[in-house]
Symmetry: C2
Subunit: 125 residues, 2 copies
């Protein structure tokens, strides 16, 4: 897998790294186009997919939201996120919760979990 270093790939990486939270493909396009105006959405999708496969980027999917992407360096290994109702930005949360197993009915086995908190971020209060 040759992983050619192109201007568009660099611009997409830069967009993800300078973002405050995970970005939608459209948001990546808009940010990266400031560097490479010819960039098209198809390339963003293809590149993000490759980066996810390579592990350098993580996909963040929240309920009722389109997928977003963030640099794995930043990403939370746990799927704990905060979604601002007002500005629609996603923030990674750290730390974990103890008593999730109490939610589990008899006979179920839990492998993983994800938690999303909703509310307002500091900027929107």
């Amino acid at each position: 897998m040759p992983e050619t270093l192109t201007a568009q790939r660099v611009a997409i990486e830069a967009a993800l790294e300078s973002a405050v939270g995970p970005l939608s493909p459209r948001a990546v396009l808009e940010a990266a186009r400031r560097e490479v105006p010819s960039l098209c959405l198809a390339t963003v999708y293809r590149t993000l997919k490759k980066m996810v496969a390579a592990g350098s980027v993580s996909m963040v999917e929240l309920a009722g939201q389109p997928p977003r992407y963030e640099s794995s360096q930043i990403a939370n290994p746990h799927r704990h996120h905060f979604l601002c109702d007002a500005c629609d930005t996603v923030f990674d949360l750290h730390g974990c919760v103890e008593d999730l197993r109490q939610l589990l009915p008899r006979g179920f086995r839990m492998n993983s979990h994800d938690i999303t908190l909703h509310g307002q971020c500091p900027n929107c209060r």
Copy 2:
């Protein structure tokens, strides 16, 4: 809002009420077609939307999953769900978790939360 009682509406309600968990529009179509073979997807979408607006049906959206629908009588007021990795069925969970607020960084305000556990349901173990 006249809420006409048609065969298709009855079939859709029945499909939702007899389901083990929330259903996708396609699954509703397949189930309800056993009653009303002429039923089409557009009608399923339109009817579900009206039912949600009327409050008789709840939309269940899980991360990375297409929306599903369930009868509000069954629905969990909390958004706590279990998704079976194997059969892809969603189960409502009851009970709640105490220490979520510990996840919240300083300056954020939390209005609500949702939790999804992943693993295997009793049938798939």
